[in-house]
Amino acid sequence: MKITRAAVLALLAPAMALMIILYVIPLGLYFINSFRLFKDGRIIPIWTLQTYADYFTDPFSYKIIWESVRLSLIVTALALLIGYPVAYALHTRVRSAGARAVLALLLFSPLLVSVVVRTYGWFILLASQGLVNSTLRAAGLITEPLSLLFNSRGVVISLTHILLPFAIFPIYSVLGRLDLSLKEAAQDLGAGWWDTFQRITLPLTMPGVVAGTLICFTLALSAFVTPRLLGGGRVQVLPLMVYNNTVEINWPTGAVSGLTLLLLSMAAVWALNALLRKLPSV
């Protein structure tokens, strides 16, 4: 059946309308504020680039940006380092489809819990008298409790946990598409497990790794609840700044922060997509 241009537009229209009304227009209206000025507790309705100039000459802004990027990179790297072996094991060791489905559900189950509930759960685990510290102390590994709350450690631990499925599943799905005879061919030509993994499996599953990186990095960069609760005000990242500026009615600075966040995410998407295009497809 041939689908006409009009039919395509008609099918797209509801989604497009929703996107425009609920996303593009509010975002645009908010970003218009970046060209206003915040002075003496109120927004002055003039057109100016002063807020941009102030924001990008303030060393504090760069500190926040760097902290956001740094945390996101650490979380992404950890999620991939933990997620790849999980995906690999799920693919190679779990034979029955039923067991795979159960394990996949288990891996995704943290996402079914409200972020607030989950975060308070981490409070209980990570506190000075919490399960982690008491276990380590009982095992004789530490004498003083590790400080895991109200700093970036707790935030990294919690974000890594919640982003893990987003690292595992793209890798798992690419592994599933990998032609098994490629591994056999490598083995046939004298490669042991490590050579086969490093020369064949890993390079050919890079599309999954890149996709996982993209999802983890952008989600970590825009995470709000976790840094706010577990960071206890000491972990300052871009989404928190946007929130703070906005509740202080400093919409111009909030808008500039928000745009910076958006541009960072878009830059990551662009760079990783460019990388993805260069990778061989399985």
Binding site: D179, S181, L182, E184, A185, A186, Q187, D188, L189, G190, A191, G192, D195, R199, I200, P203, L204, P280, S281, V282
Partner: protein, 367 residues
């Protein structure tokens, strides 16, 4: 002719012995107590329909599967659970399994690099291997830039560059079109002769197996039914399946009605047919006569009053032969007559006499 099919004894090709291997996948028996010996430097084919266990047998020899019972020896060494990377075999995979992220050069070099050979030697041997498969000058290409036939050659070079004593080939030509397939068959045969490597070739194409092999093993339903040179398998099939799978065959089921010095007389319905006697036949036993289409003669009924009477049902001209389909007493006989200019043809609907030299027909045990 006989000399041409004799394997040339060469030092490099290793002997492979398969002793009573059985392999089950769950309730399915893929291979059942198969035993055979492949001589060093031999071109050996495992032939059978899909699902007959030939690929599983090959994969057991290569170390990709392990037999539940029985064992495989290569060059006299029992393999047990030796993994593929420690066997002196290399495999050409059915779907080729070329590494898509490597160039032609890196694909072919893979095995040599695993042996940690110096770069200069790797370059020299990859060059030689690409020359051998007639692919010089394409070393820098990506796999995706090659045609099917070229990919086939790279897969071959990637295996042969390691100079394996045994090369395993799993239906490597099945994805090629007919013309290219025939060309690659000749080339594989040439390579095998030049290198003296033992080739174990898995195929479902009986023409391919007959044309290329020194010996053929015919499998069905996990069992190995007959092993022998192509001509022997064609001339003296031992089972009904082998007779029907190798070449075209007219199979006539019947009961032994008479035993003579060199012929056996079989009653099949209202027909009486004769075939070469092998010695094991007994009066009244049920068996099957196998007559090849080219062994049957067709004439006008008047000249051969003692022959089978039939009617031409269909006729097909295919260049050097004319094929007839005859209805004889409720039975269908396929006949192939060599064609030259001036050969007079029978028409559809003609009544004819069909006959053959009993020595050209063979009996196999009935089923």
């Amino acid at each position: 002719m006989a000399n041409m099919t004799e394997p040339q004894a060469r030092a490099q090709g290793a002997e492979v012995e398969v002793r009573g291997i059985t392999k089950r996948f769950g309730p399915v028996v893929a291979v059942q107590t198969a035993s055979f010996v492949i001589r060093g430097g031999e071109f050996f084919s495992l032939l059978g329909p899909s699902g007959c266990g030939k690929t599983t047998t090959l994969r057991i020899i290569g170390g990709f599967e392990h037999a539940d019972e029985g064992d495989v020896s290569i060059s006299g060494r029992v393999m047990g659970r030796t993994p593929p990377n420690r066997r002196e075999t290399n495999m050409v995979f059915q779907r080729l399994a070329l590494f898509p992220h490597y160039t032609v050069f890196d694909n072919v070099a893979f095995g040599l690099r695993m042996k940690r050979l110096p770069d200069a030697e790797v370059r020299r041997r990859v060059g030689e291997a690409l020359d051998l498969v007639q692919m010089p000058g394409l070393a820098a290409r990506k796999i995706s830039e090659l045609s099917g036939g070229q990919q086939q050659r790279v897969a071959l070079a990637r295996a042969l560059v390691n100079r394996p004593p045994v090369l395993l080939l799993d239906e490597p030509l099945s994805s090629l079109d007919l013309k290219l397939r025939l060309q690659m068959q000749e080339e594989l045969k040439r390579l095998q002769r030049e290198l003296g490597t033992t080739f174990i070739y898995v195929t479902h194409d009986q023409g391919e197996a007959l044309a290329m092999s020194d010996r053929v093993g015919v499998m069905e339903g996990g069992r190995l039914y007959q092993v022998g040179p192509p001509m022997e398998i064609y001339e003296r099939p031992t089972t009904r399946f082998v007779a029907s799978f190798i070449g075209d065959a007219n199979l006539i089921d019947g009961l032994v009605e008479g035993l003579e010095d060199s012929t056996v007389v079989i009653r099949a319905g209202r027909m009486q047919v004769r075939a070469r006697r092998q010695g094991w036949e007994q009066m009244g036993s049920r068996l099957t006569v196998c007559v090849r289409p080219e062994r049957i003669r067709v004439d006008s009924p008047a000249t051969r009053p003692d022959a089978l009477r039939g009617r031409i049902e269909d006729r097909a001209f295919s260049g050097y032969v004319v094929k007839y389909r005859l209805a004889v007493d409720g039975l269908r006989l396929h006949v192939a007559v060599p064609y030259q200019s001036g050969t007079s043809l029978h028409q559809i609907g003609d009544d004819v006499a069909a006959y053959w030299d009993p020595q050209q027909a063979v009996v196999v045990a009935g089923e």
